[in-house]
Subunit: 179 residues, 2 copies
């Protein structure tokens, strides 16, 4: 089956700080025309960091959803930045821990129906405390949780963002391990 | 710790078919001002549908990422639509199967750093074939996969969107079951 959609024209309707929005006119496989709204994002990283069987989590306000969420450490990739180095940087900024080992767990599209955002999730171990270095405008509280408790909190809805659910369930399912 | 950010002003920069974009000026807990870009989305559903130990999956082109992805059936919630009824509707439209049983597995924010999108993932069983009813402009191919194969395909990156990874790993981890 031919699935491809061909771009006919493209208009950037917004260029911002963390995202751009463009609206493309595309031709569908049956020849019909439609519009596709695409949120362009530079990508992000997240880290499942384990310290003696406990996960490092961060609590912070997420303005778009109007709630304080408990998540694994994460952040946006800066222009040209290597995702692995970005993950190491975000882990130390947000939690104060430096990882002696780090490995890609998986990469995923957060919402491929309207955005190109890719999220790379890393597994981090051999953690040493070096001191937290949050950005001046970041308000973050670090918490430690046993893996099994984090899995329960996914079931109860207390952990409820895609990257944290994916990182924690991937580790629980032993998709990848550090050893 | 006070985490909250206060909205000072709000401007809708785009109102579209599947999303709106607004840019708010907000006051941070330290009194500094910043901008928050928020993609408003009506929410979506996805369905982990099992038929004799095999998952119903759909292959389709995802324009924002420029790739054909293999995903669990899913779709946007129409204005005022009940998410459970939306999940039942999307399952039959995309795969042709009607579910005798359906249960909420979990709900999550796909990307709370820039969007309010919530995704509700349902578990469906007791499937009966009634005939596929895709929208005229949807091009979808149905595939069936054993659960263990789907888990492997998450590990290999062949299944790579948040809702499918979450639905499959949640079932694999037995977070919720139909019985």
């Amino acid at each position: 089956m031919d699935f491809n959609e061909k771009k006919v024209s493209s208009e950037t309707v917004y260029s911002g700080k963390i995202l751009n929005l463009r609206v493309d006119r595309v031709e569908l496989p049956n020849g019909n025309m439609t519009a596709r709204e695409v949120v362009e994002h530079a990508g992000a990283v997240a880290v499942v960091a384990q310290k003696e069987g406990r996960l490092l989590m961060v609590r912070q306000f997420r303005y778009p959803v109007g709630k304080v969420l408990l998540e694994i450490p994460a952040g946006k990739i800066e222009k040209g930045e290597d995702p692995l180095l970005c993950a190491a940087r975000e882990l130390i900024e947000e939690t104060g821990y430096e990882a002696g080992e780090m490995k890609l767990l998986l990469s995923f599209f957060s919402t491929p129906g309207f955005s190109d955002e890719v999220l790379h999730v890393y597994l981090a171990g051999d953690l040493k405390y070096r001191g937290q270095k949050p950005d001046e405008d970041e308000f973050i509280q670090v918490e430690e949780l046993p893996l099994e408790r984090a899995v329960e909190m996914i079931g109860s809805g207390e952990i409820c963002d895609a990257k944290s659910i994916i990182g924690i369930l991937a580790v629980k399912s032993e998709l990848v391990s550090l050893k």
